[in-house]
Subunit: 401 residues, 2 copies
């Protein structure tokens, strides 16, 4: 693997563009808040030129969202690194001309307005494909561009609730539980990125762009896994099962003297090794625990037995001993501990963008840079004057990017 | 949007290949269990030809995993639809020749072995790039191909624990909570798909393939959102906050007489509208609730007030009334209810593959088919004899697919 992790290749918005796998692409980014910007940030991370087009009156709302570092909104900074910014009034004739010149030369347009908004501006896919048939036009929305809920307002919490995901997360005796991150928003953005990349490949073969239509709702449904399997197998909903695995045991989070560890035994051999480390070899002969299906049937009793032993020593002791026995194990960490692990630095998963520490890109590719120091998020209209000169409304229809 | 949702285009593994955006691509799929197969299924969904190469002695372990529908493992079926299957012993000379002939003609190779396994077989990226420089070689693993944890065993529960995600999910007074789906596994697979698609685009421009190196760990870190922001803002970990939003209120799940609904008020105007619907207009003048920051400061009192009113009527009543007032709202649904919504059918998000109902693809693209009836997952070695004739070890290095 010759990915150049940890190498500083870019130090600010004005430095030379990265030579990433998406270098040379021009992206018009009309997205705002979270899901769209997350997807277009991935395009910028891989070297595309991303121009964020913001509305008059303050731009993207998240510029005012906390948490803050000094005057800087981290919410905005975390999903807009490496982009340029221009304020355009898409209802004003002069700005529409600038925008249409951009469209003629662009490879990708991304938007996450409520379905219908772009059409009312005269910028539906069909409108823009007419002046640039190679355009990959991506729409990310709550429920998608079609169907009875297309126009419904969608926030992450509503999508998590309506997709069934909340009903599956949490403990049998506890309430349905939201994933502690805006999962459906981020899944919408990641699918948008993936769809754009696939559509760009297809465009190279066919010469034609397309309209990529992704939604937070669809993206979350695709992630239901066991919940959807149970629906197909039985027609019933899978109840909440806390942190354990539906079909394997022990496969859960367990309390030690001073914290929790995750232990995952996928077979009898590993369970035997675990019992030996705990000094309880007889447990693997206990008829309740003799094979995996018995252990699943007695999963609460099994957990009680294991935690009796685990409670005698701190987590660090057990992590080392269980790992040494070849049994899959890992610590429960909070985010501060998680991001401080040497593995995070080794993978360049905490980068500095505009001087701000934030998660890096999970897409590592041999032969392409993965800079540790990256361009930050742009100030509002920071590139406006320069971009207005570059896109002066003089482009010809169909002009190649 | 002219995506042909709901149209039957394919009725079995032997029918004509779909003409998707990835049509014409040949993918060698050495992945197993969950994360890799989920990613390569997305390639098949978009029209790539995916050949699943399985080991002797039963093939992919998940063929024996529950839940079952008749004799069919739904676990296997849900992430292997539309693929072909051949059993190859990659340590036996004759089968290695078949495999290498496939490599010469392939566009993509995907694997999710523990790092080092492919190299020991003589099939590291560098080995295969020598005979096919255009190959996009994708590796998905628990912690990545590099770093001190590269060789550590990783299961979804361990990654959720070590990434900080579990520590952020759940209630302040409750335990850290696993997301009720194998989120880290699926995120690894989705990132693998996204990386492959971006690398294929780059290959069309440069003529060169690459090694895509993604991990479940990196993929989960990229999704930490507020947790990572808090780390950067304060150096401290964000505690668990249940189902509410860290900076907005009311923005949570609320109990009605017979179930829960999600209500999301992002501003004072929406909160006023909500209070009016509840017949409690005076609430929006209460000094505790007058603006968003006051509401966040008194979030528990606010929830108690709202639930007092909501408890008087069933969820369906409130859904209609609150929606009619223009306030974002949605029902809490279990998976059976979620998958039965008309929106799911309208978006073709519950397809039939090999006669089995399962979630469809979230990547909808105008001009490309999105068939409702799809080829199912292959029987073990179902395509072996035909594939052995097709890839007879006679291919020339560098031969185009």
């Amino acid at each position: 693997m010759d990915t150049n992790t940890g190498t500083a290749e870019s130090t600010g918005a004005d430095s030379a563009p990265l030579v990433g796998p998406l270098a040379g692409l021009l992206v018009l980014d009309l997205t705002h808040v979270l899901n769209g910007p997350f997807g277009t940030m991935m395009l910028a991370d891989l070297g595309a030129r991303v121009i964020k087009i913001e509305p008059p009156g303050g731009g993207d709302d998240t510029r005012t969202y906390g948490p803050f570092l000094g005057d800087t909104s981290l919410y905005f900074a975390f999903v807009n690194r490496g982009k340029e910014s221009i304020v355009l009034d898409l209802k004003a004739e002069a700005d529409r001309a600038v925008f249409l010149d951009m469209v003629r030369r662009a490879d990708v347009l991304a938007e996450n307005f409520r379905p219908g908004v772009m059409a009312r501006l005269g910028f539906a896919y069909e409108d823009l494909a007419r002046i640039n048939p190679r355009l990959v036009y991506a729409s990310s929305s709550g429920f998608g561009q079609t169907g009875p809920l297309a126009a419904a307002p969608a926030y992450d919490t509503i999508i998590q609730a309506m997709s069934g995901l909340m009903s599956m997360t949490g403990f049998p005796e506890g309430p349905p539980t939201r994933v502690g991150t805006s999962l459906s928003d981020l899944l919408g953005g990641l699918h948008m990125f993936a769809g754009i990349a696939a559509a760009l490949y297809a465009r190279e073969r066919t010469g034609r762009g397309t309209h990529v239509d992704v939604s937070m709702f669809d993206a979350t449904l695709a992630f239901l896994e066991h919940g959807a399997m149970e629906f197909t197998a039985t027609g019933h909903a899978l109840g909440r099962i806390g942190n354990r695995h539906p079909f394997l045991a022990p496969f859960d989070l367990y309390a030690c003297a001073d914290g929790h560890i995750a232990i995952c035994c996928g077979n009898d051999h590993l369970f035997g090794a675990l019992c030996a480390v705990l000094g309880r070899p007889e447990l693997s002969d206990d008829p309740r625990f003799r094979d995996n299906s018995s252990r699943v049937a007695h999963v609460d009793a099994l957990k009680a037995e294991l935690e009796t032993d685990l409670a005698r020593r701190p987590a660090q002791h057990w992590l080392e001993a269980i790992h040494a026995a070849g049994v899959p194990v890992g610590p429960l960490l909070d985010v501060t501990q998680a991001l401080s692990q040497p593995q995070v630095a080794a993978r360049n998963m905490l980068v500095e963008a505009g001087g701000i520490a934030m998660p890096g890109t999970p897409l590592k590719m041999a032969g392409y840079p993965d800079p540790h120091v990256r361009a930050g998020a742009p100030g509002l209209d920071a590139d406006g004057a320069r971009l207005r000169r570059e896109f002066a409304g003089m482009g010809k229809p169909g002009e190649a990017p």
